[in-house]
Amino acid sequence: MTTLTDPPKQGSFQPMMLLNDTRYRSITFQVIALILLILAIWFLGSNLATNLAAAGLNISYDFLGNPAGYDINQTLIPYTSQSTNLQAAFVGILNTLLVAFLACITATVFGVLAGVLRLSKNWLVSKVMSVYVEIFRNIPVLIWILIIFTIMTASMPTAKSYLGETPDNGLIAGLFAFTNRGVNAPAPIWGEGSMVVVAVFIASIIGIFAYRKYAKKLLFDTGRLLPTGWPTLAILILPTLIAFFVMGQPIGLDAPDPLANRFNLRGGIQIGAPLIAIWFALSIYTGAFIAENVRAGIQAVSKGQTEAAAALGLRPGRIMNLVVLPQALRVIIPPLISQYLNITKNSSLAILVGYADITATLGGITLNQTGRAIECVLLLMLFYLVISLTISAFMNVYNNRMKLKER
């Protein structure tokens, strides 16, 4: 019989333990992998630097301060052809954010509607939605953008048909024009006292939330159900309307003018065809994916929940809004995040229809005119990375608020 005379000494460490001891082995391999990765990056980086130097090229961002020299058709901030390349990049960034923001909202609306309706018991409605989802999901977004833009430019009336003393097409309601170059809408003219009207409008929106909160509290406390539909509408419109007339109609409308120019309608707001095409294409394409997420989310809610709610006497609309959707959201939100990221990234296809997003300004014209390809592409990568991670972060915060609280 042998006895253990020498217990393993605590704290003694031999180098071979890095490989043999399972406590250290994984760390050892991770360190080795990290070193290899750093070496590989260093090798590629130095290779790039050497080759660029050999070709007489240097990485320099000085061009950002030079005048851009070209014009952009949609600018949300002041910009002329004498502005810097940096300013042109900012114009592009804002245009990208604008189309991404608009498309995220409409894609969500399309998606939720189509997803809910696809589960409808009405045969025709559910089949129509299936066709929508399958067609839009399975054709590349690039082709949708081109098709929609081509249909717009080919089928809408020309801008010229709205012009002159006796135009072929009159302005719709004297205010709107739909041409193959975009939509012309009236712009508000802020007269004296218009701020009061705006203030009343903002106050009434706050009032709506207050009323709804009160109605909810009353429901929970006493079980009395107040109507929310028509009071909301009334609070939204009536006070603003009264303020508008009391102040003597301070807000006017600047309608598009068919006589000011021989080529285009002047005045009002113009929403260009490229923006509409890319916005609509991204919304309807991504909407099809979101519809599938929504359907999956709804079907993930156990049928017993619906039946229990029905047994309590809730009507179908309330079952969906109060019981099913809040639970389905937990399943819907994570894939929704990646759809929002897809929209943002797919908006880089905007150059296809001549929309001046960041890929078109910084990654297109500026890159071309300065020839600084590597610099511009690195900046582009940085921008999309930052914007995608930001969207992700915000949506994750929302997801954390919505997800099942496990206590």
């Binding site: 990765l37 590629l44 790039l48 020299g69 014009d71 297109g364 020839g371 592409v377």
Partner: protein, 339 residues
Amino acid sequence: MKTSVFLGALTVAGIVAGGAAAATMDEVKARGKLNCGVTTGLVGFAAPDSNGNWEGFDVDVCRAVAAAVLGDPQAVEFVPTTGKTRFTALASGEIDMLARNTTWTFSRDVDLKFTFVGVNYYDGQGFMVPKDLGVSSATELDGATVCIQTGTTTELNLADYFRSNNISYEPVPIETNAEAQQQYLAGACDVYTTDASGLAATRATFEAPGDHVLLPEIVSKEPLGPLVRHGDNEWGDVVRWTLNALITAEELGVTSANIADMSAAPGNNPEINRLLGTEGTLGEMLGLSADWAKNAIAAGGNYGEVFEKNIGEATPIGLSRGLNAQWTDGGLLYSPPFR
């Protein structure tokens, strides 16, 4: 994810930069083919015909260089490039030369490090409008929507022209000529602007070319020519003197019809003899065979023949020689002497 994207970009950039150096001529000879960058399709300058054979004014320059270097005008791999991709393609070594109606400018020459070997077409930026707009001058274009091919000097010229004349316009940047054409015809823009030769070529493909007019204003100088990378002067010389050989051949009356006779034996004109290699060692100096220029000229004819065949007045494009006539005829074409 972050690192892998970065790594990928670095790898691409590294490979791209790595291919840049080394003697281009040896590479072309070893490969047995010339990689020539052309447009994605501009009738008359470079476009594939119904059988897929590239033809056009710029294409013939590529073929002449291939004939001079490799003895075979068909030994060309045509690489279609857009306004955006052309410089990267050349800088990275994907193509050996670029013959894509590219304007010779200071910054492209000096900052982008390319060598323009000469000018094969003196052009200028013009405007095309539908006739029924009733516009007769570019100064009447205030408020117009203008289609531009993006990534070209025309974008900058346009901004400068409208700014200096203090008139407003709305630019619509378009990626390729074909798309711009479609937008223009659909009436999504009032005006299409690019090099006047390109406008003429585009108009020639319309169903009713007579419904569109080119405005008289030419708002810029656009000397178009083939270019190569900086730093490989031997290769630059080959392309430069091939172009000069075509121009000189026209000046001296050497055509594709009579070149076989002329190159068979030395004639009376010593410059023709030197050009065609029956006298002197010009080919050897370039590192090519003695009959390099003969091959180049035989490929598509001299400059005048190439011009008339592809874009001249007898073609649908219908460009007159204008500035592109020989200096002896009052034009700007002037080749340095072959001696």
